[in-house]
């Protein structure tokens, strides 16, 4: 019931929750949900809403009709609709668990429809660890309300009070063994009603589905060669498209010769529009060969427009356009000692293993695009604008791709496919990017500089914290057509959207720049950079990774300065009980001992953050080994503790956090985009190495702190900051020297050791 599920509950809402269907549905004013954060993308353009007016839970606020989320067919089959996409995070399975639980239908019988501008609710982007909060909350409440409506219908049919009926296995059952299947209870527009602010949610102690590990529905197909990805789509008559990308950002096509390509076997069509070149062929390999030949016949005018990579931090600092005050210290506090450090990180790629891909087809004047974008609705608008067509002439359907971890080439390849489909005479067109295109042209996660200055009192406690960061915005998703790469290179090019500085609770480049620690005085400034020396956009966690890396490695430095154990030092400054709980649990499970010394060339590191300061809590302890001669780092073992509120699929959460920590370790140890004054030079896996099996820990345990009855907090990104920072601290602990520039490369480690 509500009282258990909503900590902020009032007596009134308890009454609403336990009342009969009709009563609870009439008590619209009895809203007592926690202040709902509006469904939003991970960028900063929303404000949390604390309203007196009834606010529908999760994405129901935007799409209130129950049958937009749940439909029951006459044969009893239940279909659930979500606007959030499966990105490999297991969201499909988790959402189905939620629906099965509240609707009282067997998990196996559910069908889930994922984002499709023609079918599903518009839930914006699947990003920012929002899927469970937005869609999970909407589906859960919608399912509970549908269940109660069906019980109400059964009560009328059977002439028994609703209180004597209950839902089970897709039917409503009464005390005398009477049962009516859901299918027989639905009629016409029964579910075509607006959701109510409160729902009669099931109590966590009666859960049979939520909170229980569930094998993911997509894995059997993926391990047996089933059609699982947009890359695997093969529509009748489908052509293969490839695009010739310019050699460098902003390059202009000045010479073009397609005669040789057109004469190649299988080539159906060559397209040139401004500096956009594409080719269509019957077979994929033919398209690739033709792309190469076209590339040879193309001449480009390039500009030396990229910054000096050796001076990147200074360049970025010199580009500040505006300052945003993220947190204003009302009164600076004077300590007895002060410590300062500055950190840098390079540009990074998302680095999906499968390069971006899309399929598009024009039929009856409508362009349908199958895409692994995180936002089918925004892409629909942007692609329509690019094509100069009304929005209803474009339909975008999500199909899984390779993991993206943010805004990679998905949307751009969708635009490529949409453009090429216009000249394909109704035939479907599949476009996949080449590896070097993905590496060079996906929007990068921006380079950043951070600086922190802390004052300690006589006992080493932090009394004043002054933090600065230099960064672009971390999200340039569509948006308008100008956010789509090919659109920027057309004869009539579209301009990228104007960037703006916004300070928001969830944060952007400034995400997690305010420590959760209770310092008497904190001041945080975002030196905001408007221009994009390299096209940049959202990568898992946005600024959180770098800000947490800075805060948490600096905390270690301060602990050392104060002669304190790093875990104890953190706890000393942490008041939030849930934060303390994850820190303590990770330390305990790791076997953390105050002032322990690691074996020779080994190091222990610890880090903590609450993602966005309002989502999941995560603490990570890590042991590493550093090979002194080479500077090579190996992870030895790790333990993490996570509080992600209510959990739908515990194994799904573990999988996400494990993966996040490993990925963050890769970011921290190896990764950085390289470029000369004109071109990006990290264009494959040899020039942009990532973590391989040899660096893997022997053990990495993720311990969950279940919080039944609390809100979903999302899990997808909480491991990034603490994961990277724990590795950083462990490296420092192993080599006894601090590094302030990411990545913590072999060269830098060797130099720091003096080997």
């Amino acid at each position: 019931m509500n009282a258990i599920l909503n900590p902020g509950v009032t007596r009134r809402s308890v009454l609403a929750g336990t009342g009969a269907l009709v009563l609870s549905f009439s008590m619209r004013g009895a809203l007592a949900q926690e202040a709902q954060v509006k469904p939003g993308d991970e960028s900063s353009n929303f404000q949390p809403q604390v309203e007196a007016a009834p606010e529908l839970p999760g994405s129901l606020a935007k799409t209130p009709k129950l049958d937009a989320w749940i439909r029951v067919a006459a044969d009893g089959k239940v279909t659930v609709f979500t606007g959030k996409a499966e990105l490999g995070q297991g969201i499909k399975t988790a959402l189905m668990q939620v629906a099965a639980e509240e609707l009282e239908v067997p998990f196996e019988t559910l069908t889930l429809v994922t984002p499709d501008t023609g079918l599903t609710p518009n839930e914006g982007y699947t990003a920012g660890s929002h899927s469970m909060q937005d869609s999970g909350t909407a589906i859960r409440n919608a399912a509970a309300q549908v269940r109660e409506i069906l019980i109400g219908q059964a009560a009328l049919r059977l002439g028994v009070p609703a209180e004597q009926l209950h839902a089970e296995k897709g039917a409503v059952a009464g005390p005398d063994g009477k049962r009516i299947g859901y299918g027989a209870l639905v009629a016409d527009d029964l579910l075509n009603v607006d959701a109510q602010p409160t729902s009669k949610l099931k109590s966590p102690d009666s859960f049979t589905e939520m909170g229980t590990p569930r094998q993911r529905v997509d894995i059997p197909g993926k391990v047996t060669g089933g059609q699982a990805y947009v890359q695997d789509m093969r529509l009748d008559g489908m052509l293969h498209g490839r695009v010739v990308r310019p050699p460098s950002p902003g390059a202009k096509l000045v010479k073009f010769d397609d005669a040789a390509a057109k004469a190649m076997p299988g080539v159906v069509q060559v397209v040139r529009n401004g500096s956009f070149i594409g080719v269509l062929a019957e077979k994929e390999w033919q398209a690739i060969k033709a792309m190469r030949v076209l590339s040879l016949g193309a001449g480009w005018e390039e500009h030396a427009s990229l910054p000096d990579i050796a001076k990147l931090p200074e360049v970025l600092k010199g580009m500040t356009t505006k300052d945003g005050i993220v947190k204003d210290a009302q009164k600076p506090v004077q300590g007895v000692r002060s410590v300062e450090a500055s950190y840098t990180r390079p540009y990074q790629v998302h680095g999906s293993i499968g390069p971006s891909c899309a399929v598009a087809q024009v039929k009856d004047g409508v362009t349908t695009v199958w895409t692994h974008t995180q936002g089918v609705f925004p892409d629909q608008g942007a692609i329509a604008e690019m094509l100069g067509q009304p929005v209803e002439k474009v339909r975008c359907i999500h199909v899984e791709g390779s993991g993206c971890y943010g805004h990679n080439g998905a949307d751009d390849s969708a635009a490529d496919a949409a453009l090429l489909a216009q000249v394909a005479a109704g035939r479907p067109v599949r476009v996949q990017w080449m590896r070097e295109q993905e590496h060079a042209w996906e929007p990068f996660s921006p380079g950043m500089v951070t600086k922190v200055h802390a004052q300690l009192d006589a006992s080493g406690n932090i009394v004043d914290w002054n933090y600065e960061l230099w960064s672009n915005n971390h999200s340039t998703r569509p948006g308008s057509a100008g956010a789509l790469l090919p659109a920027q290179y057309l004869e009539k090019p579209f301009q990228p959207d104007e960037q703006e500085l916004k300070i928001s609770p969830e944060g952007n480049g400034d995400r997690n720049s305010v420590p959760l620690y209770a310092f008497p005085s904190q001041h945080v400034v975002w030196h905001w950079i408007k221009d994009m020396p390299l096209r940049a956009s959202a990568l898992r966690g946005l600024g959180a990774y770098m800000n947490v890396f800075t805060i948490e490695t600096f905390m270690d430095q301060l602990a050392l300065e104060a002669g304190a154990d790093p875990v104890e030092y953190r706890l000393r400054h942490l008041q939030d009980e849930r934060a303390r709980a994850v820190v303590s649990l990770a330390a305990e499970k790791f076997g953390w001992q105050a002032n322990q010394k690691a074996p020779r060339d080994h190091g222990y590191g610890f880090a903590f953050a609450r993602y966005k300061n309002l989502a999941a809590y995560c603490a990570v302890a890590m042991e590493v080994e550093v090979e002194r001669d080479t500077g090579r780092v190996r992870l030895i073992r790790g333990a993490a503790a996570v509080d992600t509120g209510e959990i739908a699929n515990p194994d799904g959460v573990r999988n996400q956090v494990e993966g996040g920590i490993i990925q963050a370790a890769s970011w921290a140890l190896y990764e950085g985009v390289t470029f000369n004054d004109t071109r990006v030079t990290s264009v494959d896996w040899s020039t942009y190495p990532i973590l391989r099996f040899d660096a893997l820990p022997g053990q990495l345990d993720v311990h969950l702190i279940p919080r039944p009855g609390t809100k979903f907090l999302g899990a997808g990104e909480c491991g990034q900051g603490p994961g990277g920072a724990a590795v950083g601290n462990a490296v420092f602990n192993a080599i006894g020297a601090r590094l302030y520039d990411l990545p913590l490369s072999r060269e830098r480690i060797k130099a720091a050791i003096g080997a």
Partner: protein, 168 residues
């Protein structure tokens, strides 16, 4: 025309002989298992077995493969009857996006088929060429150990056509 034996079946394909096996599998034969990741032999998403050895299908032209025994993930079993390797990956839930996974399974298969008692260090070293961006490595390792167990005990229902060395 090129004659290929894939998962025990003979195929005649009308591909140009320089075509890498990957595109013949995906495009001509409409098989999903082998994935395009880099086309450069750098990531392993396209890994298949040729005569029991793990091979990057993206850089192996079909003209070199006539008369050789090619095995893809489709040859390890089916959804209904998963082979031990597939069974193990399902049991361990060893996938996030899963894009790298078929290649991982094929590389692991090539090792375990020869040596089902491979040590943890041997497995790691063997898996080194294959990349996973989701960070699923821990589970992949667990799944490979589990697959080895299943193979040693003769469990797993599918795997009818898992082939050994050439000519087996």
């Amino acid at each position: 025309m090129v004659a290929l034996t894939i998962n025990g079946e003979a195929h005649q394909v009308g591909a140009e002989p320089d075509t890498p096996l990957l595109y013949v599998l995906r495009d001509d034969l409409k098989m999903n298992g082998a994935k395009y990741g880099c086309g450069l032999g750098q990531c392993g998403a396209c890994t298949v077995m040729v005569d029991g050895e793990a091979v990057f299908s993206c850089v192996t032209p079909v003209l070199l493969l006539e008369g050789r025994e090619i095995t893809t993930v489709e040859g390890l079993g089916t959804v209904e009857k998963p082979g031990p390797m597939q069974q193990a990956f399902i049991e361990e839930q060893a996938a996030q996006c899963g894009y790298c996974i078929a290649g991982m399974m094929m590389r692991a298969q090539s090792l375990l088929q020869k040596n089902p008692n491979a040590s943890d260090a041997e497995i790691r070293a063997h898996m080194e060429p294959n990349l996973c961006r989701c960070g699923t490595h821990m589970r992949i390792m667990r799944a490979i150990h589990r697959a080895a167990e299943l193979m040693r005990s003769g469990a797993g229902t599918g795997a009818a056509r898992v082939t050994g060395e050439r000519g087996s």
